[in-house]
């Protein structure tokens, strides 16, 4: 990612000014929320499951563990 491109800086500035920039709120507030509180409805399809059903891959599962609310 080229963070220094003017359009990226403009976009970032816009998001921050619009109120989308205060990250970490969920991590702080969500501590203690139920583990299954926000199981994603849609998730990544692992290779062995592609034939007929869906499941989480390990790295996606890890990510959702960090982002779950």
């Amino acid at each position: 990612m080229n963070d220094n491109k003017p359009e990226n800086l403009k976009r970032r500035g816009f998001l921050l000014a619009a109120g989308v920039g205060s990250a970490g709120a969920v991590a702080v507030v969500a501590a203690g929320l139920g583990q299954d509180a926000a199981k994603p409805v849609v998730t990544a399809v692992s290779d062995q499951e592609k034939a007929g059903s869906y499941a989480e891959t390990a790295h996606i599962s890890n990510y959702y563990r960090t982002a779950r609310v």
Partner: protein
């Protein structure tokens, strides 16, 4: 192979604004995936306070939603969720995009969505009965795309998915939420969705 190349593809470095976007999508997904339980409802005002501010539409919307959460009992909100979204037959508010785009559920928009999801390597979790055009599912996809792709190619994927699958109908959903009869919590979510997605739309246009 060096350490950088071995870094898991799903854990790239995210800027604060992308982390905040992913968190917004996560919370919106949670709000619509199922009724808030007492724990989530109890935490929502703190979350709203963290994101709330008087000088932006999004910040104001969070503050109002936080107030609504503070003054609502979980049973009330659960009843409201069930009545608005889960009524057998014709719910008062549809949470599925195909209804707003095509006028029916499970029509061509879902076919197109499934095609796009397959290209992204995504699909429904086992045991999930809602179709993929549920607002919570689409928010999950956006969260996934943000976290796995903060680079230029990833932003392009986010923009395409948002433009094709959320932009055409989110305002109609917000209108329906705001008009929901005898409801006091979910109409407040409409302003958050509207403000956040408007910011997303404008920000994508800057790419």
């Amino acid at each position: 192979m060096n350490a950088v190349l071995e870094r898991p593809a799903a854990a790239p470095l995210l800027g604060d604004e992308d982390r905040a976007r992913a968190e917004h999508y996560a919370v919106l997904s949670r709000l619509f995936a199922r009724a808030p339980d007492a724990d989530f409802l109890h935490k929502l005002p703190a979350l709203a306070a963290a994101w709330g501010r008087a000088d932006s539409a999004l910040g104001q919307a969070w503050l109002l939603l936080g107030d609504a959460a503070k003054s609502s009992a979980a049973e009330q909100v659960e009843d409201e969720y069930t009545r608005l979204f889960l009524t057998i037959g014709r719910p008062e508010v549809m949470l599925f995009g195909s209804f707003y785009i095509a006028g029916f559920l499970m029509e061509e928009p879902v076919v197109e969505l499934r095609h796009d999801l397959a290209e992204l390597g995504l699909g429904r979790r086992l045991g999930i009965t809602e179709s993929e055009d549920h607002i919570a599912a689409l928010c999950d996809v956006m969260r996934h795309l943000i976290v796995t792709g903060p680079d230029a190619a990833g932003l392009a994927r986010q923009q395409l998915f948002f433009t094709r699958h959320l932009l055409p109908w989110y305002e109609a959903l917000c209108d329906a939420l705001e008009r929901a009869p005898d409801a006091r919590f979910y109409p407040r979510t409409a302003a958050v969705v509207r403000a956040f997605f408007e910011i997303e739309r404008l920000a994508f246009e800057m790419l």
